[in-house]
Amino acid sequence: MALDPLRIEDEKPPRPAASGKKWVRVTKAVNGIDTEVWEEVADDSGGPQWGARESMRLISREIPRVDGPDKVTGRAVFSHDVRLPGMAYARVLRSRVPAAKVKLDLEPARKIPGVLAVVELGDGEVRWLGRPIAAVAATTPEIAEDGVRAILATYEEQGFAVTAEQAAADNAPKVNSRGNVRALSKNTDTSEIDKALEGSPVRVKGTWKIPVQHHASLESHGVVVDYRGGDEATVYASTQGTFTIPGDAAGRLGLKPNQVTAVVEHMGGGFGSKFGMGIEGEAACLLAKELARPVHLMLDRSSEFHAAGNRSGGEHQIEIGVGRDGKILAFKARVTRHGGVGQGSGHPLPYIYARDNATFVEDRCIHTNMDSSRAMRGPGHPQASFSMEGAMDECAYAVGMDLLEFRRINLPEGKRELYMRQLERCAELIGWKAHPHKQAPDRSDAEVKLGIGFAIARWGGGGNGQCKVEVRIAQDGSVEVLSGTQDLGTGTRTYCASIVAEELGLELAAVRARIGRSTFGNANASGGSTTSPSLAPSVKHASHNARVALFEKVAPLLGAKASELEVRPGEIRVAATPSKRIAWKDACAALGPNGLSAQGEWQAHLAGNDIGGAQAAKVSVDTLTGEVRVLEMVAVQDCGLVLNLLAAKSQLQGGMVQSLSYGLFEERVVDPDLGLFLNANFEDYKIAGAQDIPAMKAVFEDDPRGVIGMSEAAIIPGHSAIANAIHNACGVRLREMPLTADKILMGLAALKKG
């Protein structure tokens, strides 16, 4: 009976592995959505190993980032910061209406002194609010803005729907030819689940509402296109995928992909929104082609909100039936996604719990004349977590059962031990044992009430074989590791260097990591937390191969076989006769002028997959003002081999902060009548600031597996734990984010009325 269209993985491989092969789960984008699939790969278990963790010097330790000094001094050059001779600055004109036929008169812009080029974007048909329709290049950004204002746009306005309510109404203007309300999957026979629900002694039913969130990366989307005529170009891009740029850019510039080099030295946040070049990148290429001079086009903040993606919102109707013993007997869900002109991310319900007795009634999306949603950190999971954990909590209170015990009963067999261990650790860290009211809200007369809530997350985080890494050792002893990969702020550059330095017995500073350039080896785009589990094993493989090749050269000098050698800090020696040794510099001198170059590719056995995490939040609720303060957040996470404990802690805590921000503050506000995005700026679209940050604790479990990406798991459960903590504090159950004071006061008033 369980139709579960959003099941994200099959539990078992499709068939036994062929000889010399093995099955691994990898995360791949299927129809734009990160999905776990089984892949048969060569059984490389005999290859390099990470080795004993206690003997590591530079892996799984607290390693300050190698680019830290550049970042704190302003020396780090982001794409926004690229300045080239003769560079023009460009800005885009956005459609001010959600649906229209547009005619443009570009001449007034062209007449402004300093305006260098003006191009039209799109085909004159606008289907979503804020779509860039023209771009202006000028000698300064100020003049480019003048140019944008001077363009005469004539809109033949059409009916629009910017909210789901508008779009779903009878006779609503058509957003697209496929229909505004589109069923992605439907289960018409619900008789069995309905019967199970009817037979359940305790039932919880509700609708959870989830706002549209914005990525709000501080560095906006954009590129600097360095094209000066001729047959090559360099594109500096703020992107999560170095290799997503050259093909697109070449098409617009009339070049071949191998004539375009993409550069991503540093990038200022993407969170899932920065794959490919986008309309803004195309515009920059068109302008650069026309001018044959470099063009700098970065979206301004308002354009960034309007036209650079978002996390889909939605609505979840959930009904759960529970037995007196706390066992969930039936789960029924209907999901509506709000993804603008796009279809939004899949919301995997039921989330983690209650997988056996579940029926998915319908999964549908409602299209509006708004920018398409894009992937955003943990696509679909934070949404699913909010309703699922909220509903779970409601059930636990309804049957009068301890919050953790209720979760234990309804966790799937194979995950129970993991999540209970993590939940209990969270409980311990946040002081659950001493908390005075565990199974009911604080019913005292206190004005400010304290509450604690819990939630869990799962993610794949496996790697894939899309990385090619090179390690070079020069005659002078210097070492470089090269990969085209991009560092989103996760510390990629740092672990590239530290893995090589560890393998070769060198100090971290002795290895230079060169990344973010499409002329280096291929690397996967950073989505689905797949970067470190794909790249780190490839770096390990390349450095292992470099060491083996170096041993081959050095062995004759030591009168030994290559297999008898080992590295020690700064030297190579014969393992059995340590007095037979050669200093690093002397060993490298034997390489001759060509030095040594070794390649590496993905080693499935050095990566892992499938992680879980739990978080808990302690909040105070002021019952007079409705103000919520998050006082404390704790997280316990597994993620295989932690490459850098310092950067990983930042990632995990950063995820918790984003989750807090999602829960308490973030919501796109649209005026349905005027068709306007009302808070496309950082005053009215609030994200968490310094004074919103609670005390935090992030714990990584000792996990013997290989490298697994963890970033997405970090952002999934925090807001759900906060919502649950609010209920535990004051009895108000918020089924709609953001969890703001007005909603809490309304809830308190409703409780008083009874």
């Binding site: 003048d146 501080l218 950082f682 968490a688 600031g689």
Partner: protein, 216 residues
């Protein structure tokens, strides 16, 4: 383009250009061309009469202890002047919101933190501008910058220069700043990666080091 114009006249004539033209507290009309002295005089003047400046003005700024001549439109922000008109470009201060709500563009004017996206370059004439590039002596790091590195106060790093500038000013005046005071000092800065806990750790650690050094 060189007429002295009251703001109301200017606004009614060219409403779309309202942002470009005004700055407060000046008493001189700039007519395009070399007006550095006029701007300086204007900056010193206490006159409340608003004045219209247009065209390009050449001004001299004191940035990180060195004099820099730049030719900018009067409407050009200090941020865009640093990033787009200085040689070499000073791109440490970041353009993120362009309206004073995120702090990524924070620099010091006469030692006090300001949003350089909300400051006109012409208003910085006669004042000492310090940017992230000039915070430490050549090639070095301040205690706060070192602490940011050691405690992982940057993830993507785009907000980092702004945070460093805001908190530097706080520690400069009070190396014994509490967590609460540090949070307040950077409450005008936004970080999307959520680096705040490490930033606070770094700031507190830097404060301890500064106090141990006895002095700043």
């Amino acid at each position: 383009m060189s007429d002295a114009t009251s703001p109301r006249d200017a606004a009614s004539r060219e409403p779309s250009l309202s942002r470009r033209s005004f700055f407060k507290g000046a008493g001189v009309v700039a007519a395009g061309g070399l007006v550095g002295e006029a701007v300086q005089a204007a900056a010193r003047s206490a006159s409340l009469e608003p004045v219209c400046m247009e065209g390009t003005v050449e001004i001299e700024l004191e940035i990180n202890g060195a004099r820099a001549k730049v030719a900018v439109e009067p409407r050009t922000t200090l941020l865009n002047t640093l990033r787009n008109h200085c040689t070499p470009p000073l791109t440490g201060a970041k353009l993120v919101c362009d309206r004073g709500s995120c702090g990524a563009c924070t620099v010091h004017l006469d030692g006090a933190p300001v949003y350089s996206c909300m400051t006109l370059a012409v208003d910085a004439v006669g004042r000492k501008v310090t940017t992230i590039e000039g915070l430490a002596s050549q090639g070095g790091l301040t205690e706060l910058q070192s602490a940011f590195c050691a405690h992982d106060g940057s993830m993507c790093g785009f907000c980092t220069p702004g945070f460093v500038m805001s908190i530097s000013a706080c520690l400069e005046s009070n190396p014994a700043a509490s967590l609460d005071e540090i949070q307040r000092s950077c409450s005008g800065n936004l970080c999307r990666c959520g680096t705040y806990p490490q930033v606070f750790e770094a700031a507190l650690a830097a404060g301890r080091k500064l106090r141990a050094k006895g002095g700043k």
